[in-house]
Symmetry: D2
Subunit: 347 residues, 4 copies
C-alpha cells in the first residue's frame, strides 16, 4: 500500500506531532485525580501563564467550538450580541452553537478579507443610543478570528484599534485563536503581543490545528471571569475528565516553542504553495497569504478533477474559489507535487 | 520518588489502558479528513453496530456529560421532562448542563439504591391526565444509569419492566451507560441484552471510565433520530475534530472484548475490597456491590485520616458514607493495602 | 338564564374589578407612545415607588410566569440555581418556563406548608464548599411565594431570617408575590414591610388575581438590575405594547388602597369558608388559612359530586385534598351557599 | 388642555377601538375558568376557524413577539434556522427573543422592500447539500412579514411562489401577520387567501395594531402542531390567565369584519398622506404604499423640527429616511394637518 496521503483539506486533517504524542504517553502513569487536579494540568497552566502574562489564566477544554461558547459565555448576558465577521467560524461553522448555548444574537458584518475594522464597529453600534425600551439585542462583544478564516492576519496595531473602539463603546474583546499560533509565527511576535498587550479579554487558543491530538483552551485576562469560565466550561460539557492528557499536549506545544515551529512551518508551506500556484495560468490567489491558508480562484470545470487528486474544499461555489490549507506536517514534497497536479489539471 | 499512587477516588482517576494507547499511536499516520470521514471511525462504528445490533448506530463524542445532553436532546422537545433518580449524574453532577442545553426540566425521583422502578414512574405520571392548558412540563423520557451512581445494576427484567411502563405512558427510554460495561460484565451479558433487547431508545456509552483516554459515544436504536443526533452533537460542541483518535480508542475496547475484561477486573476488585472492608469493625457496606463501586459507612472521625492515606470521596456527609471506586488498573495489591489502611485507621 | 356562577376554582377565575375597568376606559383617549413612554405608565410607576420605597423601581409585564422569569433572570447566570419549595409555582405550574428561558436548575426543597425555613437553606447549601471543578449548579437565589401556594403567609421575621441566611451564603432573595397583596392584608402591613424592609432583591407583584384584568409587575430594589430587567423583559416577550392599559390597572389598584380592600375581602371570605366547612363532619382543614385559600381533606367519593355543584381543583389526588380559592368578588352568599352544598354532599 | 394628540409614530400608539372596549366590558360578568376554558374563548376560536378554514386552529397569546416565538417554536428544532428578511421584526425588533427562546439561528437575507423572493431562498439553501457533519444550522423555516416592515404587501402569487420553493427544499412557511389585516384589506381578499390557501404553516395574527387593546394569536394549519403550540405558549409565558378578555377583543374584531374596516381605513389614511406629502418639494416617498405605512426621505435637517410637531420614527439615519404609520383612528384631519406641517417645515 502507498504511503498515507497528505492533502490540503484542513489543518485538522493533520496527524498528531510526535512530541505531543510522546507527552501523552509520558502522562500515562498511575492514577491522577480527574478534572484538572493533577500535576500535568498544573504544569500546563503555569506554561500558559508564562506565555500570556501574570494576569492571565487558562482553562483547558475539549474542542474549538466549545472554547468559543465557553469564552463568549463569560462575557455575555443573554440579551447581548456579538459583532463578528460574516465569515467568522462562530457565525458559519458551528451549527448555531453560540445561539443555542448562549441564547445570544450574532451581528455579522461583511468584510473583504475576514478582518473587522473600527469603522465597521462604529457603523454598527454608533447609532443605537440608549434603547430604553430594549428592542434590540445590545452589542457587547467584538469577536475576531486571528488568523482569520481567510488566512489573513491582524497586526497588533489593527487589534489595538479594535480594542480602542471596544472600550469607547463599552464593548468587550474576544478572539477566536484557533490559529493564533499561525498569526504569531507570521508576525514573529510572542502570543501575548497579540492578546494581553492589545486588550483582548478572552481568547480561544487552539492546539488541535497546530499539532495536538485534541486540545484547546480558553485564556482570560480578567480574574473576575474565573467563576463564569469554570462553571460555564462544565455546563458547556467541555470539562475534560482525564484532563492530564489534554494538559500534556499543551505542555509539549508550549514548553520549548513547538507551537511556533509547527505554525511557522505550516505558514512557510502555504507561501510556497501560493507562489507556485500563482505561476500556473488560470489560477488567481484571492487573499493575502499571511498564515497557513491559500485561497485561489480557478476555472470552475477544473475544480472537481483536481479534488480527485487531493482533498480540499470549495470555499465559494459561485465565485469558483477554493481553499488550500497547510499544516505542520505538510512537506515541501507535498506542496511541489500538488503544484504539479494543479499545473497538469489546468493544462 | 515512590511509585505513582493508585487510589479509590474514581474510575476516571485511572490511566489509559496500554492497548488503547497503542491504538491511538497506530492511528497517527498521515492525513485523515476530520469529523469522522476517516477509516478508523468507519471501523469503530462497524464494531459498535456489531455489538449493539443492526438497527443501531453510534455517534462518537468527547465527554460523558456531552453524550447525555446530545442523546437526551434527540428525544426531547423543550417542554418535555426527564424522569430520573435524584442521584442521577444528569441531576447532580453535570452543573445543570441538561437544563441549560435542552431547556428541559428534570423530575428527580427518590430511590433507595439509585434504581428507578415502574411504580415510581406510575406515581409520577399516572395522575397527569391531558393537561390541556399545559401547566406542567410533560414527562417524556425515563433516564436510568446502568450501572447506577450507587454501583448497583439493573437486571434485564428490571430494565424491560421500565421499558414496558415507558411504552404504556408514551415515554422514551434513555440510558446513561457511562459504566454500562461494568453492568454487562457483572451480569455476564452482551451489551445489547441490556440495551437494544430491553427497549432502550438512546444510550450514552462510556469508554473513559473503562480504560480509554477520553472516548464516549451516543448509541441510538431508532434511525429516525439520525439528524437530531448529528446536528445536536455539533451544536452541543461534542463533535470531535480529529475523530480518528477517539475512534481508535473504541476500536481497542470493542475489537476483542477489552471493554469486558477491564470492567470485569474492576468489578472483581470492588468485591474484594467490600469483602475485606466488611470484616473491619466499624465499617458497614451500605449498597449491594454489583459493579465497581463500594459504598461504606464508617465512624465520622475516621474519614479524614483515611483520606490522608488514599484519595476517595465522601458521598453523604450527614450519613458518614463514603464511596470507593475500583478501576481496570486497580490491583489486588492496591486493594489489600487499602484494607490494611482501613483496618489501621479504624483500630 | 341564571346569574353567572361564582366558584372556588381560582382567584384568576374572578372578574375585573369595576374600578380597574373604569381606569382602563379612562386611558382610552388619543394616541400614546407604546412600550411605556406614556403618562399612565409614568403615573403607575410613581405609585409603585411610593409603595415600595425610594430605591425601588417597577417594570410592568403581561403575566405572572413572565414576571417570574424576568425577575429571576436579572439575578441569575445560567449555571446558578434557585432554591424553592417543591410546591412553588415556578417549580410545578410554569411548564418548565424558568428552565427553558433561564437555562437554570431549580433545587426544590420539601416543606410541610409551602414555606421555606433557614435550616432548609443551610442543609442545601452548607456542605457545598468551593466546588472548584464546578460539578454542581451553584445555588444563587432563594425564591419564596408570599402568600404561598398553600395559602400560608410568611411573617416579616420569617422573611428576614431567610434574607439573613441568604446574605450569609452569598445568595439573593426573590419573592413570587402573585398574592403578596393577600399576605400584606392578612398581616395588616404595608407592602414594603414584606419586601424592601426584609431584604427582598426582586419581587413579582401580582395584580391579575386581585382584581386586575391582566397586570403584573417586576419590582426591584437594586438599581444595578435595571438593564437586566429592561432587556430581559423584552427578550422574555413580556414588554406590553400598549402599556397604558396595563399601567391604568395598577393605578386603580394602588391609588387608594384598592389592592388592600380586595385582598382583605378575599381573605375574609376564605376564613368564613374554612370556619363553616370545618364544622361539617368529614371535612378536615389541612393548612392554616392565612390568606385567601382553603385546603381541605374530604372523603374521596364526595369530591366529584361536590365539583359538579361548584368548580374547584383537587390538590392532592392521593391525599384526597382539595383547594378552594376565594377572590375579591366572592360574596358571603357564595360562601354560605357553598358551605350548604358541602354539607349536603357529605351528608 | 388641548385634545390628545394623534401622531404617526406607530399603529400601536393608537387607542382601543370602542367596539373592542365594549366587548371587554361585556365579558366582565361573574367567574370564568382561567386559561381559556370559558365561553368567550370558545366563541373567538370558532370565529378564527370560520375565518381561516376547517383545518386551522388559533391559540390566543399576549403579545406579538410572543406569537412569533411560540409559532416558530412549533416548527423548529434548535439546530434549525429561519430564513427572513434583514428588516424582519423577528430579526431587528425583538431583542434576540427568537435566539434566546428557540436557541435557533436566523439567516437574514437582504431585500429592497422587505419582501423575500424565491431566488433569494434558492441562493441561500441551494448549495448546502447534505451537510453530513452538521457544521451549519439547517435552514428549516421561511418567515415573511405580511404586510412587511416596509409597508409593502405580498400578493397571493408571490406567497405561493415562496411556499412552492419551501416545499421544494423541505422548508416550512411562517408568516408574521402583525399587520396581516392591512394586507388583506389592501388586496381586498379574505384572510385565508393569504394564509391557508397559499401554504402558510403557522401565522402570527395581530390584533393590537388594528384596534385591539392587547390581543394576538398564533394560527396553525397543521393539527400535528397542537401539542407544540399549547406547551410552547405556556413555556413562552404567553398563556393569558384571564383569557376571556383577550378572546373578547378578537370576537369584536372578527365578528362583523371590524378588522377589515379598521385596516382599510388605516391604509386609506396612509395613501392620503403619501399623496399629499409627495407633492411637497424635498420629499421622496421611498417605498410602495401598499398598506398603512409611508416611508419618505426628507432633508436631514428638517427631520427634527418636524418631529417636534408630531411623533414619528427615523427609519434609516444614514439615508435620512423616516416612517409614518397610520392607524384605525387616524383621521383625514390628522393627515391633512400633518401634510401642512410637513409643508411648513420644509418650506
Amino acid at each position: 500500500m502507498a504511503a498515507p496521503a497528505r492533502h490540503f483539506a484542513s489543518d485538522n486533517s493533520a496527524s498528531t506531532h510526535p512530541e505531543v504524542l510522546a507527552a501523552i504517553m509520558a502522562a500515562n502513569e498511575g492514577h491522577a485525580l480527574a478534572y484538572g487536579a493533577d500535576r500535568w494540568t498544573a504544569s500546563a497552566l503555569a506554561l500558559f501563564q508564562a506565555e500570556f502574562g501574570e494576569g492571565s489564566a487558562a482553562y483547558l477544554v475539549l474542542g474549538g467550538t466549545g472554547a468559543n461558547v465557553v469564552g463568549l459565555g463569560a462575557l455575555l448576558r443573554p440579551w447581548e450580541a456579538v459583532l463578528c465577521a460574516t465569515t467568522a467560524h462562530i457565525n458559519v461553522d458551528e451549527c448555531g452553537a453560540p445561539e443555542r448555548f448562549l441564547g445570544c444574537k450574532l451581528l455579522p458584518l461583511a468584510t473583504p478579507d475576514g478582518k473587522l475594522r473600527p469603522e465597521m464597529i462604529r457603523a454598527a453600534v454608533g447609532g443605537l443610543g440608549e434603547d430604553h425600551q430594549a428592542h434590540h439585542a445590545r452589542p457587547r462583544v467584538i469577536s475576531v478570528s486571528q488568523s482569520t478564516e481567510y488566512g489573513t492576519v491582524y497586526t497588533p496595531d489593527e487589534l489595538r484599534a479594535l480594542s480602542d473602539v471596544a472600550r469607547e463603546f463599552g464593548l468587550l474583546f474576544h478572539m477566536d485563536g484557533a490559529r493564533l499560533s499561525n498569526a504569531a509565527a507570521a508576525l514573529d511576535l510572542p502570543l501575548r503581543a497579540l492578546t494581553a498587550d492589545v486588550g483582548v479579554d478572552v481568547l480561544s487558543f487552539g492546539g488541535t490545528k497546530n499539532g495536538a491530538m485534541g486540545a484547546e483552551a480558553v485564556v482570560m485576562f480578567d480574574p473576575a471571569l474565573d467563576e463564569a469560565l469554570r462553571f460555564g466550561r462544565k455546563q458547556a460539557t467541555q470539562l475534560p475528565s482525564k484532563m492530564r492528557y489534554v494538559a500534556a499536549q499543551f505542555e509539549a506545544l508550549l514548553r520549548d516553542g513547538l507551537w511556533r515551529r509547527n505554525a511557522a512551518h505550516a505558514n512557510r508551506m502555504a507561501r510556497r504553495l501560493a507562489r507556485g500556484a500563482a505561476e500556473v495560468p488560470g489560477i488567481t490567489i484571492t487573499q493575502p497569504v499571511d498564515a497557513n491558508a491559500v485561497f485561489a480562484r480557478l476555472p470552475r470545470g477544473r475544480i472537481a478533477p483536481l479534488q480527485e487528486r487531493r482533498s480540499f474544499y470549495i470555499w465559494d461555489e459561485a465565485g469558483s474559489e477554493v481553499r488550500w490549507m497547510c499544516s505542520f506536517d505538510t512537506t515541501e514534497g507535498d506542496v511541489d507535487a500538488f503544484i504539479s497536479e494543479i499545473r497538469a489539471v489546468l493544462a
